[in-house]
Amino acid sequence: MPELKIKDLRASVEDKEILKGVNLTVRGGEMHALMGPNGAGKSTLGNVLIGHPNYKITGGSIVLDGINLTDKTPEERARAGLFLAFQSPVAVVGVKLSTFLRTAYRQTHPEDKVTLTEFYDRMKVHMKKVGLDESFMSRSVNDGFSGGERKRFEILQMVMLRPKIIVLDEIDSGLDVDALKLVADEIRDYYSDDVGFLIITHYQRILKNIEPQFVHVLKDGKIAVDGDNNLSLRIEEEGYDWIKN
């Protein structure tokens, strides 16, 4: 069972401290929700976890299954089993979606000698599930994708690359009602004792669909409250003002 341990994590962007000591543990079989006001540092946490070079870690540690990832490159973290579905996935012009996923898979699962055809067949099954037409295979990564299509593609990458610890940054924003259901289904299908989720969201909608056991509120760079799904209900009604730093 995987275990991600975030300990007293501090990080800054352009010399401005954003994360001011975050403590959080996500294990296989666990579903965590992370909420918090705009600008609290939720996406920063996601980016710091995957090693985005623009974010500087100034203290604390990120440990996955006993391996310290704090100073590792993004690709090393990905290969260790960490995955972030970005809040705003960027377009990478010229990089073909199918080749990209295939190359990523070979890097994250070097032991699996699956052929190109088998891999693409698998991919097509999941494209159908997340509602992406097969024609997307030959398009450039996220290039010209609608907001919802980008989100669907993030989920497709998740199920294809089979990571262990998954951070979904506002996967529900920009999705229509039907897409939200498809995405929630894929998340639930993929969910098992071997994977842990950290779902960043502002809304009750998705949490109703996937019912996290743990809800945390990040405020001003720190986890301010922990609770269960009732906490998310209260936030939906009362907002964040009642939470003290």
């Binding site: 070079p53 080749t99 295939r102 990523a104 055809t117």
Partner: protein, 482 residues
Amino acid sequence: MEVEYSKDAEMEKLLEDLKNSNIKKEDWEFHDNYKPVYSTGNGLNRKVVEEISDIKKEPDWMRRFRLKALEIFESKPVPTWGPDLSGIDWENTNYYNRPDDVNSTKWEDVPDEIKDTFNKLGVPEMEQKYLAGSVAQYDSEGVYHSLKKVWEDKGVVFMDLDSALREHPDLVKDYFCKAVPATDNKFAALNGAVWSGGSFLYVPKGVQIDMPLQTYFRMNGEATGQFEHTIVVADEGSKVHYIEGCTAPRYDRNSLHSAIVEIYAKKNAHARYTSVQNWSKSVYNMPTKRAWVDENAKMEWVGGSLGSKVTMLYPSSYLRGPYATTHNLNVSLAGPGTVKDTGAKALHLAPHTSSRIIAKSISIEDGKAIYRGLLRMNKGAEHSKSHVQCDALLINDNSTSFTYPHDEIYEPTATFGHEATVGRIGTDELTYLRSRGLSEDEASSMIVLGFLDDVMKEIPMEFAVEMNRLIKLEMGKLGAVG
């Protein structure tokens, strides 16, 4: 099923190839210590031009041509509409450097140091494997030329222009500076005055050469100029592919490369010209390249521009006969601190002519890539067509590219279209790919191959490899943590 994915499989293979290729910069930026046998010293004046002509024992018409060109050169100002050219040190440039008296048809006879240089660059090996003929030029003079016997027997002429002027004076005179007169621009005039070397290729009527012919230009001296003049004549119904490669070592003082390339594609002929330049960052590269394309003839320009400090290059096609076509592909890389001001010109002078121009540029850091194009449809060029596509890729969070197309359309039945795309690869894009497990190398290779995808078949593999290597270096900086 497998057929459907053949393209992906090919891509996977290319990625592997790129990973395993490790051409290094040292491979061509070295310089040897060969001392020129004769040099005119620094600076340019009438005496220098006369001296060059004397050494070459040229016919009188050529000598007069040179002196006239010098006057034109002196009368024209340095162009200021493009990149900054103030770094050209006119006074301290060496306009003529003769490596040796030998110009051989056997590699063994080439002086050892020069031979070593070409060996290191892989020139003789290429010749054996892929070429129908080759010419090697070292500084100002051709030092070697060869042509397979089958082609010689069919009347093909391939040698450096100086030799051609001696052996086929009338043929040379028919084409010399017809497409590119000395009055064309300052750099063409300069070439007219001090030209030396370059290739002369004549393919007789109906002769179709299936293997390419190549010239390799090597500039070795510091602050020297290379002014070769190349003429390719594809006579009626013939077919030919001519390739040029050029490199130079890197020096602190700037060198100048100002060539002329003239191509004559006669009726029903098919001429293809490929050039790959990887001059070092101390070279100003200012060639003038032009093709005359006659009735139903086809001209293809393929250019890969990696090196140099400043390059200004706009290969042009004059579509002179009905149904003449030109394809122009240019891929350029503007590395840090360099300027690529490149483009194409298509002049439609007859009915039913067509042109297709694809310009792809990659700029990294403060490297500046500029597309400058001219499309002219003369009155009477009925039903002519043109399509221009400019794709720019910016590698950096804040680099830029510019597009200056210029259209002069005087024919109402002509049609034309422009397309332009700009993509940017910065830290976020690179991080996105890496966050899925791709190494920096793979990420950059995929980006480069993806960008070149639609033209990959057209460009030499070594070019793609070298381009990829240069870009990888740059991306390494983007991905660096904090």
